[in-house]
Structures are given as structure tokens and as C-alpha cells.
Amino acid sequence: MARAIYLLPLVLFMVLATYFAVSLRPNHDIHELPSAMIEKPAPAFDLAGLGASKPLALDGLKGHPFVINFFASWCVPCRIEHPLLMRLAEQNHLPLYGIDYKDKPEDGSHLLATFGDPYRQVGVDRDGRVGLNFGVYGVPETYVVDSTGVIRKRFVGPLNAETVDKELLPLLKHLDQS
């Protein structure tokens, strides 16, 4: 029995190593989680606008491809992502719409006032219901939706310059042309 205690660290480590191995399983990229919603119509929403923004509703956005970005004032990776969103909005005129997720509206407005507002419109998803319908795991998350309102792509975690140049912008261009 006494000896068994000395085995405990090894056993615990083996359990941990198994978890590590599982998380490394092939074709499993955590930055781009598969979503049950891909290639499905985006769940409808009709949200109050943040601050001076007009209300944000799915029906109002259809007709052109667009990008939805879930963010929150309490989210550190969102702040890392923010300068990139600003650049995309200014230089690429990205049709970017924000959803302030599980956040106090005043905190969300405060964030955008401080760091700049890259969004054309921002909706307030205070209780996270729209996020739940989209299957948001955590913020930030970014969805590309085509002109008919079907989700075409999902990015989990902060966007970076590489994924934007290689995936997001080409996809949008493709959607724009078709």
C-alpha cells in the first residue's frame, strides 16, 4: 500500500499524457473547430444595436456576403485581434459586423470608443443566446456568411494575418464573385 503512493505521480502523468495525445490527434486543428453549423443557414437574430449602432438583424444583412465577429470587452484575445480587424475594415473594406457577446453594453461601447470601431454595425447579445445558436465556444469567433445567409466558414480564436490572407479574404472574394 505504502509503495502504491510512490506510483501515483507516474499514474497521474500517464493520464495527463493520454489527454495530450488525444489533443494532438490528426486532423484536429483546435483553431478551426468543425461546427455543426457549417453549410447550414445562419440562425436568425434581431439584436438591439450597441451604442449608436442600428439594430442588427440577420434578414437585413442578406444579399451580400458578410462576416460576423463575436467579441467581448472582457476578452483578452479579442484585444489582440482588434488591430487586425481595424486594418481589415479600413483597408479591405471588410463587411464586418460585430456581436458583443455576454457583455454589458456600456463596457462594449467603452471598448470600441477606446480602441476604435471596425464594425459596420454592432448587436448586443447580452445573455449569449445568439452565440449559443451559432455554437460559439468562446470569444473571439468569426463566421463568414454568404449572401443567402448560409454559414460558410468559422474561425475560432483570434484571427491572424496569415489566416486572413490565405483563407478569409480569398473566400470572401470567391463569394462576392459567385
Binding site: A17, Y19, F20, I30, W74, P83
Partner: protein, 662 residues
Amino acid sequence: MITELGHFALILALFVAMIQSTVPMIGAARRHLGWMAVGRSCALIGFGLTALSMLALMHAYVTSDFTVINVIANSHTDKPLLYKITGVWGNHEGSMLLWVFMLSLCAAAVALFSDNLPPALRARVLAVQGMIATGFLLFILLTSNPFLRTFPPAPNGNGLNPVLQDPGLAFHPPFLYLGYVGFSVAFAFAVAALIEGRVDAAWARWVRPWTLASWCALTVGIAMGSWWAYYTLGWGGWWFWDPVENASFMPWLVGTALIHSSIVVEKRDTLKSWTILLAIITFSLSLVGTFLVRSGVLTSVHAFATDPQRGTFILLLLIVAIGGSLALYAIRAPALKGGGLFAPISREGALVLNNVLLSCACATVFLGTLYPLFLDAVGGPKLSVGFPFFNRTFAPMMVPMVIAVGVGPMLAWKRGDLLGALQRLWVAYIATALTVLVAFYVTYGGPVLAVLGLGLSAWLFAAVLTEFAERIRLFRVPLGDSVRRAIHLPRSAYGMTFAHLGLAVSVAGFAASAYAHEAIEILKPGGSIAIAGYQLTLEHVDRIPGPNYTADDATIRVTNGGEFVTMMHPERRFFPLQQQTTGETAIRTNLLADLYVALGDSDTAGDWTVRVYWKPLVPWIWMGAIIMAFGGAVSLSDRRWRVGAAARGSRREAQPVPAAGE
């Protein structure tokens, strides 16, 4: 050509490491002195070779050799020289090379400063270090080679991430890695001791300076990282419980426990198998941290370019290194007999409490950090626990810890007198009560927890000073005698006093950060913001060119009650190459509080967003960390650890090494 030399040196270092990990080990088992001595030469040659390859890569960066893929990906001709050099470790491949370089530095240091070690132990320690080096050199050469070439050369490089172009960050990785990798020495000593089946006071005495040195480096490294985050990221936070920060914090917590438990092994010849386990875990956590950061299994603000193949390789390394050492532990540790017994209320008891609390704190951070990974493995959503979890679980564990740090050193070995110690701490009660009352009065209506935190800090500060006064019997014997006692106190006692005072200073900084004020205004030149009695006026914003960026430099006049205080210059820097903007905050500190200004966006009408924070006692967080590290360094200079003194000590306290001795 020089790049190839570096590449070959690295390959050669791999073969040398392979010899280092086998020959001395066999020599130690067969008691063959010549074979054992190979370890020493290998460690020195290995250091020379990795240093050569480090210099070769640096050369490629400094001369902007754009046939080297790694240089193309991370450098640019316009980059200032400092960042060309430090850019070497600003990327995955280069930082792994730095890691291995630090490892070989440690091995060489062991080889050079171990004359007093029994040859068999030294051979085994160096062999274990050789094994670690073999694993990581293979990792670099097979999956992350910084010396790969491409042809034709690229016209120019992609540059370094602007956020990393900062002097604070430039020197943060070397300290951090020295800390991480330094714990490999303690690990190697632990494994060697398990193989030999013997842990005694002499062993603890040999390990201690290495542990202390790594701990100091890690403390400085973490503090620098946190300070960098504070002044560059521009929103005034200094700790984010980010997975990468946690990866450096966990070895620190367990390493702190190790420093304390090895005192018990040294003085009282007990807690042996626990100390060995701590030594293994400390380095294991450094390795796990490396895995988490490089494999991309956790998303982090710091994430390197990640690659599952690398993750698999590191995981294999982890299984061999950690699994192997823990298996050895399971087999050999039960045979390690504890020595002295002690009552629960005693110095040993206090150190055990310290160990329990630090280990639990580390376990909490560990669970919080890996929670998303556990959830993900069972198919759950990948949620991270975030700030609130850590603040709610970690802080409550640190409160009893800080209280105990005040009392523990007052207790005697074997059986302490808690009541007596508590009575002798009367000064500390008064200091705590006064601080709480004053803080409560001054900040009436503010956060109550912060008041308690300040009280905690005052308690610790006063208790540490009381303990010191007791040691020199201040006011009990004539002052001259006290001074004489103070002069003759061992350095390690001073080290402890400084380290504990540093903790008290940091705790005050943590607590007082709850009092920070924030003000944000959109200003036109001439407009002003008021905060904490200061008036900040935006005079003008100028566009000035930098070496590889253009900056909008704001000139802000700070006055207090109409009196001129200072000019502050926060900047926004635009790096055209990366199309990225970074902020340079301006901080004015009087050591009691920071005035922190960040320049935000401008709109077309020439208005600027200006954010101002007033942060009382925040500089104390890092001052405390530096004092802690200084304490560690003072303790390190204790004559007990010096070569001659330690050799005498070891002869007195340890049994002679059978057969293989000099």
C-alpha cells in the same frame, strides 16, 4: 558558409550529447574513473558547439542572410541591430536553439563547478543532462531546424512582429529559459540520486545553489514578462493568466517549494522522497510548458507558429523524460529512509505547510490552464476558465501562505513554540492593524479585499523584520552586540529576509492594483483630462519617423495643482511592413504610483483617444520580484555553497563514496 558551420556544430553537439548520456552512466555503474570523466569533457565540448551554432545563427541575422529561411521569416534589413540579435530567439526555431544553448551552459557549469562532487554522482548528473540535450537536439534537427536554406535568396525578410520589438521583451526569454533549463540540474541530481539510492544532507547542499540560481533567473524572467505586458499592451494589466504565463508560473511555484523543502533535507535529513519528487516535477512542468506553447494544443496570445508534428515529438520527449523519471521514482523512492522526526508545530512543519500550499496553488493553476484541453478530449466545448477562476481559487490559497511565511521562520526546528512565536510578533499585529485602519480610512468605500491585502503585506513585512530583530537580539543585548551578530549572520539568513520582504512588497502591489483609476477622453490638441489630482493636457501630436516605423508622438503636459510635473510622450507606431500599429505607453512613476498614458486612435477631425490610468503601488509588484531574486542571489553567495566549504561539509556529513572515490 558560417551558417553551415553552425548547422554542423549542432549535429556534432548531438553526437557529443549521445556520448555524454551513455559513457559516464556506464562508467559510474562499473566504477570506471576514465569513463566517468568523459561526462565532463563532453559537457564542455557540447557547450562550445552549441555556442558556436548560436553565434552562427546570430551572424546570419546580423548580416541579414536571406538564404536562411528562418532569417527571411523573422528579420528585415531595416530592423535595428538590437532586434536583429534578439530576433534570433523571437521565433520557434531560434528560441529552441536558445533553450538548448542554456541547457549546455548549465551542463558546462556543473562540469566546471563540481570538484567537490563524488565522481560517480557527477558522472550520472552529467549523463542525465546529456539525455535531455540529446532529446532536444534531435527535436531541433528533425523538426525545427533554424539553419535551413533556400535559393534563390529572398529580396528581403518579413520582419519581426512589432509587438516583440521592445527592449524589455528582448531580454525576457534568456532569463526565463535560464530559469526553466536551470531546473534541469536539480532534475538531473534527483535522477542521479534515485539511481544511487541515496539522498543525504550533502546531496541537498549540492543541489541547492543550482536550484536557487534557476529560481532567481525565473523570478526575474517572469517579472520582466509581466512588466513588458504592463507597459506595451496598453491596457494597464500585468497578469492575464494566459496559458503561456501560467506555463512559466507553475515551475516557479513548485521551484519555490523545492527551495524550501531542500532546506529540510539539508538540516534535518528528512522529507527526502518528497524533495526528489519536487525536483522532478519542477523540471517536468518546464517541459510541459514547452509542450503547451509549441504544440498549439492551447490557444494563447503568445502562440508560436504551431505544428502538430512538433507537438508529437515533444510529447514523446515528455513521456520518456517525465515518465521515465517518475517510474524510477516509483521504484527507488520507497527505499529512501527519512531521518529526523518532528512535531507538527516546528520549522519543518511550517516548511511542509509552505510546500502543501504552493503545490496546491500550482495544481490549481495547472487544472485551470489545462481545463479546455480536458474538456476537449472528452468531446466537450473548448471553454477556457479565464480570469475569475484563477482569482477566486488562487488568491484564497495565498492568504494563509503569506500569513504562515510571517510565523514559520520564528519556529524552532523539531518542536516549535507557536504561542511564543505569536507573542513575539506583537509588532506585526500593530503594524497590520494600523495599516488596515489607515487604508480603510483613506479609501473608504473602496474595495474591502484590497484593504485586507495591504494588511497582509504589512503583517508579512513587520513579521520578517521582527524575525530578523530576534536573530540579532535587537534591544535585548547592547546595540554593539546586535551589530556584531548581524555581521556574522550567514548570508542565507539575509537571503531569506530579503526574499520574504520582497514577497511583502509584491503583495502590497497586487492588493493596491484594485485602487487603480482610469480615464478616457477624446481630445483635440489643447484638451485635457483630470485624474487623481493630475491634469494632463494634450499639447500636440507629431508624426516622426523611426528606424522601421513611423510614429505619432503625443506631447502631454502633466500638472498637479497648476504646478508643472513632467512632459509625457505616448506614441502610436505604424510598421508599414507588417501593416501593424503598436502603442508605446508613457509611464511616469514616483515609485508610489504610476501615471500611465496610452495614445489611442485618431479620427479624421484630428481628435485623439487618450487613456490615462493612475495605478498606486503597481511598481511595487516588480520591485518586490527583484528584491526576491536579490534575496536568492544573496543566499547563493553564502559561503556554505562555495567549493571549499561545501567540500568540508560533505566530508563531515556524508558517507564516503564506495570504491570510485578519489
